[in-house]
Amino acid sequence: MLNMKENDIKETIEKYSNMIFRICIMYLRNNLDAEDAYQEIFIKIMEKSPLFANENHQKAWIITVTTNHCKNILKKRTYYKTITYDENINIPINDKEDKEILSIIFTLPLNYRNVIYLYYYEGYSTKEIAKILHKRESTVRTWLKRARESLKILIGGVFDE
């Protein structure tokens, strides 16, 4: 396989584990599916692992691989009509408030929550998000605006721009 040595593999897993797992949860909204996807994505990343100009480049590439993989899983779900997640959204979080906020975020359309995550958590600009998701910047800005509006209504006072 691999372009990576054992230490590099461990380091990559440690560095990007949480990010990949979050994106998987965001897309699939189910812990079990997210864990499966997480493993498959890591195997894919280790197999391909091209050379990167810098760490940001690598991170953006990993986000793109992860989102594409999750999109494929969702496509398969639609094709085989096997919707595995339940309405309560199965996420392994103990804090009640965090779980509540995430449950609200997860009610948003996929593109909105994706943009919210990349913008507010990963700290990407709308331009960078557009590049990662292969969308136009104006589209990303619209999604972000609508997502904010929806969150304002759903979370109310909790959400502060």
């Binding site: 396989m1 979050r22 890591f42 280790m46 995550y117 507010y120 909790v158 502060d160």
Partner: protein
């Protein structure tokens, strides 16, 4: 916004999952290595088999091949032996005779000179003579291209 950030922060991959993933990657790594080795050895074996088959099929050609010699050998073997009257006669280079020694004409044979010439439909006519005072069942003379060759019976 902080609440959202904190909420996202609370999603974490467990150590168990990380370890499981690491093991799976290493397993996959080994599987790919084994596959690569298999492909290498299978192709090596196949190549060897192909070379063996090739050598087996063409070994005869290689054995007979000596530069500028195979053509000569064919010609020699063809001209060294003559069939006449159901008997096989072989060339006897030790005896040289001239025209006076020829007795009577026994037969005329049309022969292909050699393989190459046969493609061009080239043939030669040889005349078989008995030799004076010699039993034709033992020796005969062959007149070919104005040359007299003596053949003796091959027992």
């Amino acid at each position: 916004m902080n609440k959202i950030y904190n909420a996202f922060s609370s999603i974490k991959a467990s150590d168990e999952l990380k370890e499981k993933t690491y093991q799976k990657i290493m397993e996959n790594n080994n599987v790919i290595k084994t596959k690569k080795m298999k492909v290498f050895y299978v192709s090596l074996v196949l190549t060897s088999i192909i070379i063996c088959i090739f050598l087996y099929n063409y070994s005869d050609s290689f054995e007979n091949f000596t530069p500028n010699n195979d053509h000569t050998m064919t010609t020699k073997s063809e001209t060294d032996v003559i069939m006449y009257n159901n008997n096989k006669y072989v060339l006897d280079n030790n005896i040289i005779i001239d025209m006076d020694m020829l007795d009577k004409k026994l037969d005329i044979i049309i022969t292909q000179d050699n393989m190459m010439e046969s493609y061009n439909s080239n043939s030669s006519i040889i005349s078989i003579y008995s030799i004076k005072n010699i039993d034709e069942a033992k020796q005969i003379a062959v007149l070919k291209n104005n040359m007299i060759l003596v053949y003796k019976i091959d027992i």
